[in-house]
Symmetry: C2
Subunit: 352 residues, 2 copies
């Protein structure tokens, strides 16, 4: 009952012991021989079990178990020209926000049987394009991107080899692409309206990193203040990676410029925490003398003393839903292009 492989019969005219290969690996052919079917049938039993007779299927799975067969992904990828790998590109791996997005992605992809390759773009469009090129060598089934830009290298592929991509965090400019996120502008606007309603008159804005999303929050914040008849003049922006300590530094600068400032919107919770510590250090009452608002609702915002008003963002869901949108496309479902707006929620707490 011994099967020969093509190469055995060509190069070595002696039969190898049953179940063994030149490389020592257990292959689909070994499983097929053990189960008394062809390798095609084994492949089908793995991919589309409903197309294989139950009896064959049982023998095949028993053989897989017995031999400890692990499918070779490289061979599958080479033969089918598509892998089970998704390229995921996030701006930063040191930011808790994106880590939670990765958790969402991982949860969906693990369930769907996909792996992912993570790249860090450093908030730079060029770096994103470069990583896409690198990942292309792995024949990824799709991409999950975080830049709101188009990438020529993906656009220029012929339709037959197109690789689907979903943009995360920001909503795309048009409905011609897939994007999952929320409106940064509206979130900034909501914070401004809240501060205005509470009666704060001299608010400031502090930000670091200064990527496009930060700038949209700022834009919305200014718009909200202007609509409330408040002058949004005091801003301190620093184009460096965010740290908690930087929140303290930026607040000090704000207070130098405008000592009578009565509220500060921090573009993220790290800065808000640093600002709170600085107030504690200087003996400034929060919110009595100065209100503080953050962004993202990181783990400390709710339990700080005082608890910090912030914007709860759907970052886990952005990952999960983006992955879902991508995989459903890959499975051939006809998902309409467009923006999936997951919204946000303003958490009003003690600090304002």
């Amino acid at each position: 009952m011994s099967k020969r492989t093509a190469q055995d019969s060509k190069s070595v005219p002696l039969p190898l012991p049953k179940g063994s290969r030149a490389t020592g690996r257990v292959t689909i052919t070994d499983v097929a021989a053990e189960a008394g079917v062809s390798s095609m049938t084994v492949s089908r039993a793995l991919k589309m079990p409903e197309l294989v007779q139950e009896q064959s299927r049982e023998r095949i799975f028993a053989a897989i178990e017995k031999l400890g067969y692990v499918p070779n992904q490289a061979a599958a990828t080479l033969a089918s020209a598509r892998s089970q790998v998704i390229g995921v590109l996030v701006p930063s791996l040191t930011n808790a926000v994106f880590i939670e997005t990765l958790s969402g992605i991982r949860d969906y992809l693990a369930e769907a049987g996909y792996q992912f390759l993570i790249g860090e773009t450093g908030y730079a469009r060029d770096k994103e394009a470069q990583l896409i090129s690198t990942y292309l060598a792995h024949a990824p089934a799709g991409f999950l991107l975080s830049s709101s830009e188009q990438h020529e290298i993906l656009q220029s592929r012929p339709a037959s080899r197109a690789i689907p991509a979903v943009r995360m965090f920001d909503l795309g400019r048009s409905n011609d692409e897939y994007s999952v996120g929320f409106s940064q502008t509206k979130a900034g606007y909501a914070v401004a309206r809240h501060l205005a309603e509470r009666g704060y008159q001299r608010p400031a804005f502090i930000a670091a990193q200064l990527d496009p999303r930060m700038m949209k929050r700022r834009e919305g914040f200014r718009k909200g203040l202007q609509e409330a008849g408040i002058d949004p003049a005091v801003e301190v922006l620093l184009p460096l990676p965010t740290t908690v300590d930087m929140g303290a530094q930026l607040l000090r600068r704000v207070l130098e410029v405008r000592p009578d400032c009565d509220a500060v919107f921090c573009c993220n919770d790290d800065l808000a925490l640093g600002a709170l510590f600085e107030c504690q250090r200087q003996g400034i009452a929060v919110p009595g003398q100065l209100a503080i608002a953050g962004f993202n609702d990181l783990s400390w915002a709710a339990c700080a003393t005082p608890s910090i008003t912030t914007v709860i963002t759907p970052r886990y869901d952005i990952g999960y839903k983006s992955a879902e949108m991508l995989i459903r496309q890959l499975k051939g479902e006809d998902i309409p292009k467009g923006r999936l707006d997951l919204g946000f929620e303003l958490a009003v707490r003690e600090s304002t």
Copy 2:
């Protein structure tokens, strides 16, 4: 210039135009034809350029550029039985500590031309073993692991197909394996000695997660207290994932059991931050009434009010050095097995 697909070429056995393939991809053969050499030579020019005549090399690189050739990793992996992918298994992706380790890994691997697949073990040995099995299908060149256990599935492979692994964070029990980390026990011990030297008499210990590393810190802490003649009786341990808020909860429990407690060692900085907020809420002076020590030196520890005494751990370096140790093995260097102890540093600050 119409392209044909695979099925066309079968049903119609006509030669394809030069430079094109059934799949439409640019292959090494296309590059070889363009450069007027064999595909072997192209392969060599890419892997070991010094073995190829300069003139050929120039023509080859020009052809690569002209055709936009991207090597197919799947084909390379299948042919060589080894990929450029490293399997990286960390306990958690929501913990800043491991994220920084990943940054270290990424920095080294990116430089060395490797990709990595990240898995999250949830601090469970079984989950780690399961992920190893899954990743084996990708023919990883090596593993970076975070459990201190051995894994049969890796141990049982024949020497010819052995996959090297490096253990991170903990130092291995023996010098029979590769490990990069520091002594958790010594770090816990150092905190105890510091508190004792400062004259604290009724210290408590709080911890969550309770993975083996936490338990080693505790062990060292207890030992240090005992040696200083202090009773290490007050401990509150909770086997749940760490959060900042949990630090507040655990501290409340400690104060219920022992209201006269004068110091608390938190097994990580998240708990320490929550404990600090709780003290602020209750009006407990830090360190006047209660000293607080944390672990890891996360970004807020140094700039909190008061700044938090903690243990600075070499987590970025653990990632970087582990990756280096692994890749140098893969490149055939004869790296001696053993433990690489990167040490730690006690940062004494205002909170103690």
